[in-house]
Symmetry: C2
Subunit: 795 residues, 2 copies
């Protein structure tokens, strides 16, 4: 591997560059002043409150300086993903050294004052986080919650053939589930049309307080594990003398050269196969396993206790700044010989500065990861996918299948741009998006078999991404969006909770980056949640959970949108809106089963634009005050609310019912809480301030209360929704168990309209009897009553 040994003077320079990065990293963690140690170090030069993580940082810096050399040598665009996000100081240091930091933050200049500010702001109130964060140039990967480095890397690589993603994975993160399965992403990457992911597993040895699993299995097991994952691992490991840095520089450089040649070879062979019209063989992509001591180059011992190469160096190696420790710190900082690294004014010495790549090739200035290469989608006119029918509530269609046709054509329009993909955990067809296969298949780089037919839609160039891992789907999509492209994630509603925490982190990223001017707003994260709670009657209780939207609305209103389109045309309108939007999380909940259709496209557009509205054709309070408002959100509750309206109108022709449907859930919140919130006047004009409102809701009923508790009419609001009653049953039995069915809703109205108290009693009894009949029916026949199954809006 040593064929390409670097000249000694280059090694010296690279080592100096690394020392500079390490110096600046330690400085960020410790120093408030005296940035270049021009004076003897005193306690008052040290921050009063010491925060940060040293342990992983020197390794991240080591990799950075070596990637810089590769980039310059090869003119290769590289993005750096720092899985060990605790290494914030390292990435900040390196982007300052290469100049990008001062470009995006002009007040942090490339001089001693700039360094002092760089040091002070780190983990300082009003400053920057201790992790690799949105504020860090060159980052598209927040280093807070662990597990997503590799899936983000692959997501960024898709459709970016010229890009190489160097993805450093900490051996702590490697223990997480999402990370452990994301290695398999290599079965979904096309070696010509996609970019390259170079994973670098950093065996640092320790987590906060424990050794890591992967650092404590045999070399043989480790090698097999990654060969089993489909990689060709190259080991770069410190020898007996962990401080023989020259040797490690040579080894790392030689390995990188070997690997880069191999990558070029892989890509050109794949290109040749493709050009010859042959299937492209899945390559065994190279990866690096870098074993280096935690807290490398830091103090070997403090107070007689082992620090370097040990968990004690995880955070701040010593923090009670006794005079002795101040001296320890000064010695440590001076061990990097800052006087050899920086000019008199505090700039990086020019002979070292030239080691960094220039312009966009600097990893801190990579255009992809700042969203600067993002283009809008070409959008077909969604109105032409209109589901047409004669009368509202009388025709049947599968909403998500209609959406699938629209997505098919979005896919088609953007095939050339290569900036649109769909993601799902083996549910794309189950969720009725299969028309998309007419345009693009399912990306599959693993083995093909004779039994695979055209019906399987497996494709080496597919743009539908399916793996049975919500984490990987979400991670890929995030990586794809964070680099400016577009996508939609379809998922069973109950199991989207698997990525609750990933959603949290992405929403936080969006919140923070809204205020970072050198990043471009990225396309929205779009979810279709289908196979939802009301139609998981067949799969049972474990598949019934509408709570993701409860989780979502906790995040900042400025980035959150929730839509519950009641039918296909509203779903189409919402879909169009989501795909055109940027910097939101759009959650769309819609059914895939045959269901009644209510609004023409023109009505749907109007309804979705407003977000909430009175459906005149279903109301009979025209020109007067209603006796009751029947409100609903979600497709199944809408149908039940309409059926309840039908029952009530049959039995109480004089009852004035106002029928309200909510498609944009955020309209319910006060305007001060959410930009989509109706102002109070509008809200009152729809819901009234004094009439009973019976609300049939898709999700947990208290979410509606949580959104409306400040509204004038809130005390009159009675919400029905999923109250965690479920099992394997029938669709109608699901709503009955949770009292969102037509009979229960009609009874709710009778109970709340004063003048029905007496006169409605015998009708109420009829509705109760109907529920008994229903129970009897499903117990015997095992299915729903025909009058319920076949019900349509009769007016």
């Amino acid at each position: 591997m040593a064929q390409s040994a670097l000249p000694n003077d280059l090694v010296d320079k690279m080592h100096a560059y690394w020392r500079a990065a390490n110096y600046l990293s330690v400085g960020q963690i410790y120093l408030l002043d005296n940035p270049l140690l021009k004076q003897p170090l005193k306690r008052e030069h040290v921050k009063p409150r010491l925060l940060g993580h040293w342990g992983t940082t020197p390794g991240l810096n080591f990799i950075y300086v070596h990637l810089n050399r590769l980039i310059k040598d090869q003119n290769q665009s590289v993005a750096y993903i720092a899985g060990p996000g605790h290494g914030g100081p390292g990435l900040v240091a390196n982007t300052w050294l290469e100049g990008t930091y001062s470009e995006v933050y002009p007040n942090i200049g490339t001089d001693a004052e700039g360094i002092q500010r760089l040091f002070k702001q780190f983990s300082f109130p009003g400053g920057i986080p201790s992790h690799v964060a949105p504020e860090t140039p060159g980052s598209m990967h927040e280093g807070g919650e662990l597990g997503y480095a590799v899936s983000h890397a692959y997501g960024a690589a898709f459709d970016n053939p010229d890009l190489l993603i160097a993805c450093v994975v900490g051996d702590g993160e490697a223990e997480t589930g999402p990370l452990a399965t994301s290695w398999h992403s290599n079965k979904f990457l096309h070696p010509v049309n996609d970019g390259t992911v170079l994973p670098i597993l950093h065996l640092n040895g320790y987590k906060i307080a424990n050794p890591t699993v992967l650092s404590r299995i045999s070399h043989d097991e480790l090698q097999k594990l990654f060969e089993g994952y489909g990689y060709k691992p190259y080991f770069v490991e410190v020898g007996e003398d962990v401080h023989d840095y020259a040797d490690m520089h040579q080894r790392m450089a030689a390995t990188l050269d070997t690997i880069y040649a191999e990558i070029k070879d892989i890509r050109s062979k794949a290109k040749a196969e493709q050009d010859a019209g042959k299937p492209v063989t899945r390559p065994r992509w190279p990866m690096i396993i870098l074993r280096s001591p935690k807290g490398w180059t830091g103090p070997v011992e403090i107070d007689g206790k082992k620090v370097e190469g040990y968990w004690r160096s995880h955070q701040v190696p010593f923090s009670d700044m006794t005079p002795e420790h101040v001296k320890n710190l000064e010695d440590w900082l001076k061990s990097y010989k800052p006087e050899e690294l920086f000019t008199e004014t505090g700039a990086l010495r020019p002979d070292l500065a030239e080691l960094a790549p220039e312009h966009d090739l600097r990893m801190g200035a990579n255009k992809h990861v700042h969203g600067l290469t993002s283009r809008d989608l070409r959008m077909p006119d969604f109105r032409k996918y209109e589901v047409k029918f004669d009368r509202p509530g009388n025709a049947v269609a599968e909403a998500t299948r209609e959406m699938g046709k629209f997505l098919r054509d979005v896919m088609k329009e953007n095939l050339d741009s290569k900036n649109f993909r769909l993601f799902g955990p083996d549910e794309n067809a189950s969720n009725r998006w299969q028309d998309v296969y007419q345009v693009s298949g399912k990306q599959w780089q693993a083995e093909y078999r004779d039994e695979d037919t055209n019906n399987d839609f497996l494709a080496q160039n597919g743009r539908v991404m399916e793996i049975l891992s919500e984490h990987t789907c979400q991670g890929w999509l995030e990586g794809y969006l964070l680099t400016g492209r577009h996508g939609f994630f379809s998922c069973y509603e109950a199991f989207i909770h698997v990525i609750d925490s990933m959603f949290n982190q992405h929403a936080k990223w969006l919140k923070t980056t809204r205020h970072i001017p050198w990043r471009r707003p990225i396309p929205s994260l779009n979810y279709l949640l289908t196979s939802h709670v009301w139609r998981q009657d067949h799969n049972g209780f474990s598949h019934q959970d509408p709570g993701f939207i409860d989780h979502v609305v906790n995040k900042k209103a400025e980035v959150i949108r929730v839509y519950l389109p009641p039918d296909a045309n509203t779903l189409l309108s919402v879909t169009d809106h989501c795909l055109r939007s940027r910097h939101y999380v759009n959650v769309v909940v819609a059914g895939k089963q045959p269901a009644l259709q209510y609004l023409t496209m023109q009505q749907a557009i109007k309804h979705c634009t407003k977000g909430v509205g009175i459906w005149d054709w279903a109301s009979n309070d025209q020109g007067g005050e209603p006796d009751v408002v029947l409100a609903c959100a979600g497709d199944v509750p809408t149908m039940e609310a309409l059926a309840a309206t039908d029952l009530l109108r049959q039995h109480f022709p004089d009852l004035k019912i106002r029928f309200v449907n909510v498609v944009d859930l955020m309209t319910l919140q006060p305007k001060v809480e959410h930009p989509h919130g109706l102002d109070d006047h509008e809200f009152d004009s729809v819901f009234t301030t004094d009439k009973p409102v019976v609300f049939a809701f898709h999700g947990y009923p208290w979410l509606i209360h949580r959104l409306t508790y400040r509204r004038n009419g809130h005390d009159n609001l009675h919400v029905r929704g999923y109250i965690e009653n479920g099992t394997t049953s029938t669709p109608f039995d699901m709503v009955v168990m949770n009292q969102v069915d037509r009979y229960s809703l009609a009874m709710d109205v009778i109970d709340r309209v004063p003048h029905l108290a007496v006169k409605g009693a015998h009708i109420r009894q009829k509705f109760e009897d109907k529920l008994v009949e229903h129970k009897h029916y499903i117990n015997e026949v095992g299915d729903d009553m025909p009058e319920v199954k076949d019900w349509k809006w009769p007016y």
Copy 2:
């Protein structure tokens, strides 16, 4: 491997037993009547609505019959975990065949009528779910959401040395993140003191609509992957003729015999090492990779389309019951030759029945998985861990560290019983439970190094379980609890969202099993959420999320408990309660940082018993009506509310303040919603019905509104909490950003008490000025004002 070839007649019998299981599985999916095909099959014998999953079932049945043989031969207690939960019919069929089903469900007898009922109830309203579910005897693992089979298996194996867990993992599930990392659990299993996990990776080839990743990589990669994970994989694969069943029976039996001998050998060698006082070597445990066609033994083709060995057999292979399909179904069922399997009355033929193990050795009757072996913990008296102090709000302690001392002694008291473990993702010490190491270390079966010292607390017999995977911790703990043992999970509050979905499934399991009399209530799932939102000032925005409790309260009230103890003594009282309870999920949120202490142990017990209470020593409304109620929940909000009270009492000595603390969040809900809910009279007597209530809350403020919107005084309630404002900052700045700080709370009071509107204006301005001073202070010094940091309750 063929050394132990089975006699042909035994193979024939086992094959017949397998056919019986397959017959009963198909029958469950399809038949409403004519269970033994005594009459020609007609449409009306077939269910009107066909639901279920055939694809994985024959493989699960194949494994079951082979495990039965092993159990009988070896007298080995085995529990069966069916990762492919869609195989519900298979497990139901097998437990019926061995007799356990009819024992726990006497109305499903071992005769034709019983079979007919068995068939009808499957996936039928009022019947049983299509998955392996709580209702399935022998199950401890719900087959709904995928990913947790292996971690459940290890959890069940811990401290059950005589138990072997046969854990079938579907190749779909194997793609999930939680599953992918859970293979590493073998580094945490003790080969003498724990039981054995035998993973059986079932390469069925297909998911719903896609091939599986692991079935489409090379044999070499697959083998290396599992060798890399630390296993010794044995392949059992169908040959060219997938219907040469005798051959597969021989191979499976021989492999199981080989493996079982190897397991015995591993365990006895480890025992010898242990007895000799040597470190116990980590074994390379055997596992099986079983490759068999999806929908094996089912129709090869239907309507000319491939079904067996293809994704089309995933669910119901054909469901439009045309006359031709009725004939297909009859042929399929008859291919199992039911007349050779069942007696005239519909019992399994006696010569086949004797293949099943007897009594507790039947896998459907395994005592562990029904919680029947569960014992209560021996509990030390928590009162002796009391933190003592002179005056409330004047002394400082770290709450979770005190809890750790108590847990240490709980551990000690139960060391002999071996039924208590602690779980955490590398955070046990960070969360201040380290005193527990005095009694038991961290379980670690991977490599030890010279650098490992006593300070690392790694132990081959440790009872503290740490891996950097919340999924694995949760899965282990669930497996441990589901088999009747006890535990506590400590986690950073923000990252507990990683297991949101696992919590969902466990809560659903608890809800369902409450109503299953042959299961014993299992110990509660206990969470300590610490390193919480208000003290993640140093780690920043990504680490700040108090939303898990929002997620939790959506589940059934009967299984959910949420506690926010304000100090160490209340935390101790709550901890004691949690460890004694069964069948709940207890979520405890408490800080680990030095914090003020308020209640003596006696007061703490009283306060926790009531769940909410007026703190007289902090109130000055004694003997009269208050002007305002200052309420709080959570340790940091409690301190800020007290400091606000202090400020208000300094400036408005006449203002009558009632100070209320909530430790049991569920007391706020109406009693009809939650058993802990205060009745309205009690609630009103604490919170008043007409006075302003300023509520400082630990989490998102709307949660308090969601819990109290039906309460009389709700319109007067003003809640402050985390509103998703955060970054790297200081503790006090965190509360300021979210307006939960003492100055903001005091201003909230001034704004809401009518008689302070004028007279309070200049004081209000003072408080505003304080916030300006605070900003200035942290920007310059980078820390909080001393008057805030050093504040204590002065009365």
